[in-house]
């Protein structure tokens, strides 16, 4: 009998080029994020030269508006932006999936209450809502993670509730209920393993959106605060260079775009595999 590891290796062997490309890119990002201090030629906030230096051997991508090395900041930016986005997405999933599972398992008033709260939250455009709350509670890292996580958990809730509803009606869930199992067991052992595939796929997509939201907030000055290196604010800080035909500010933007595309490739493939479709 094949073990889980063998299975996943075999699955990997059959993956299309797009998924492999996506996985490679993600791997590169992760390595960069984890090993930033080792890879980056200069420190994250270290001022190493004069402002807006062009590309050279000393500064491969030039320097930014304060004279910090662009390449080093992009490398550290991977750590900050991707790390924060990952933490936020995890939190969003924790909140959303537990609430979704509760709604699907308990039904009745619990479902009504949770669903209506989520409806109200979803009725307000998320970026505007985030901006509003952040200006009230103040912009720091923890607040930003919490606000984006809560706002994004509404989508996770919707998905979890919908897919869990299909599982709740199964005889094995009824059998577990009749056995006298508690709520937590039914949610975590009977339902969750059967909806993990769509949730994992959603995780990939949600991560992209969280990532974009953080970058957008940073660009607007309400996200990660200086001097932390962050791709969104790097675009804003150096935007003037574009007027002079220098493409440097586009590089952090391209880094965001590339990761988004890479994740989508992997998610597409994963969805295709788990949906059980044959070609």
């Amino acid at each position: 009998m094949a073990t889980a590891a063998q299975n996943s290796l075999r699955l990997l062997g059959r993956s299309p080029w797009s998924a492999r490309f996506g996985m490679l890119i993600i791997l590169i990002y992760v390595v960069t994020a984890l090993g930033a201090p080792l890879i980056a030629p200069y420190g994250e906030t270290e001022i190493v030269g004069i402002e807006y230096e062009p590309w050279s051997e000393v500064y491969p991508l030039g320097t930014d508006n304060l004279g910090r090395d662009m390449l080093s900041r992009i490398i550290y930016g991977a750590r900050n932006t991707v790390g924060v986005a990952f933490a936020t997405t995890m939190l969003a999933f924790l909140i959303g999936s537990i609430a979704g599972l509760l709604a699907a398992t308990l039904r009745g008033w619990a479902d009504q209450l949770l669903s209506r709260i989520v409806d109200v939250m979803m009725a307000i455009p998320p970026l505007v809502f985030a901006l509003l709350i952040l200006t009230i509670v103040g912009t720091n890292l923890i607040n930003m993670i919490l606000v984006i996580a809560v706002l994004d958990s509404t989508r996770v809730f919707r998905l979890t509730r919908a897919v869990a509803m299909n599982v709740v009606v199964m005889d094995y869930v009824e059998a577990a209920r009749l056995r006298g199992e508690g709520l937590w067991w039914i949610m975590s052992r009977e339902i969750l393993p059967n909806i993990s595939a769509p949730l994992a796929a959603e995780f990939g997509l949600r991560f992209c959106f969280v990532f974009l939201t953080i970058s957008a907030l940073s660009f607007l000055g309400l996200g990660l605060q200086p001097p932390t290196a962050d791709w969104g604010s790097m675009v804003r800080d150096n935007a003037t260079l574009i007027s002079y035909g220098d493409i440097t500010p586009v590089i952090p933007a391209a880094a965001i775009a590339l990761l988004t595309v890479a994740i989508n490739f992997v998610v597409d493939w994963f969805l295709h595999e788990t949906s059980g479709l044959k070609e």
Binding site: D171, Y172, L178, R179, G180, R189, N194, K278
Partner: protein, 554 residues
Amino acid sequence: MTSAPDDGLLLRIRGLKIEGQTEEGWAEIVHGVDLDLKRGEVLGLIGESGAGKSTIGLAAMGFARDGCRLSAGTIEFDGRELREASAGTTRELRGNRIAYVAQSAAAAFNPAHRLIDQYSEAPVQHGVMGRAEAESDAISLFERLHLPDPETIGFRYPHQVSGGQLQRAMTAMAMSCRPDLIIFDEPTTALDVTTQIEVLAAIRDAVEQFGTAAIYITHDLAVVAQMADRIMVLRHGLLVEEGETRDLLAEPQEEYTRDLLEVRSFQVKERPRPVGETPVLEVRGVTAGYGKTMILHDVSFQIHRQRTVAVVGESGSGKSTVARVITGLLPIREGSVLYKGEPMPGRFTQRNKDQLRRLQMIYQMADTALNPKQRVRDVIGRPLEFYLGLTGAKKRERLRALLDMIEMEPDEYIDRLPGELSGGQKQRICIARALAAEPEVILCDEVTSALDPLVAEEILKLLDRLQNEFSLSYMFITHDLATVRAIADEVVVMHRGKVVESGPRTEMFKPPHHDYTDLLLSSVPEMDPDWLDHLLAEREEMAKQGRVLKAADN
């Protein structure tokens, strides 16, 4: 159009091989089958699930399901090769000269369109007749197929028509172009026995009337005996035996065919109800339902220790609802459920662990009753841990003992996922899960109806053995009277939420009865090829005397 080459052969299949896609690539599932069908002949294809009968049936139209391909051989329909025919050729034939009737008419009809719209689609598309003509033709066909209100039934939507009627409407649709060949894929399997009769009679009548050739696919030998001129027995994608219906039934040559014929010979000796003993489980005057509509009305019966009570009735009779009431899933409006004379709390959430443990349930569909992500060891291990507090070596030991009890090799199966088991094996795991709780009563909800006859019989034998070993009491919910005959001590007949009749098995199978019991009993197909004719004649005779036995939806 070329005419048939010789001897009136309509369909000629030679060396047909079909492959299916698996994780490891293409695997052969039909290994070279030959098939001949004359004009106007009805051929029965019979075999257990996985025998390839449906796949062969579809191949006769030159069609392969997604994930399947016709890899070798020839399929000649009326002199034309279909296996490699162009899409244009097959499109011209399908619906027009070859038609198909699916197992589940409810799933095959588009719920958004009226029957008549779907009926007229094929004749209009193929240019056989215009819309108005098709509609008037539909009415005459509906009439021929004994559909009630033939004038207006076509203007209803599929959900407004009962299952048996829908299946006949589908047959009418297949006949709309007066095809040369119709493929019936288990058309009555999903129906109640009482409804099945009407559909069988209607199909046979129509096929004879128009001289249509047919391939009739089923797993029920008794059904095919009524319908087919000739029978082919298939197993594992190979032909086992072929012969004229009467010869094959009278003198089967192969052992597998004999097994199929002898199925249901298994019978438990009836045990009388013990005197002066409190029943293990008693349902006393229960009325229950959803919202304001009551489904059960004053239902009462008793289950004694080590006895089997069969609750029979057609779908919608409330027999499964009784199980929901007993398990506490559905609250009782009036009456009570008593365990050894003590009333049990109405909701399962109010029952304690011990009350839950004593009452276990086995479901109809083992597929949905087992969590696909849990291995056998977890499925059976959980009740051991949960109810009996077994852990570690003790639990492992008990687990292996349970697998031995259900005749499954522990080393081989203990780590499997449900998806890696066959239908019969899955049902055995469900039995083991129920058994692990060391119950006193097991509710069996149609536990064998989704299984092939030979597998079903093995399951019944297993249940009987376990009953004697552990003094279990069973409540057997079923619509299959053959099962009742095999295993029940007492029978409770339900109809529209009421108990119509109840008593010991031998008495229940002896006339005279309540009309409904008679209808139910007489509707079970028998192996005798003349059974349907005799039955229909008998019912007609009775109707003349003013006693009409007919399924509710007619």
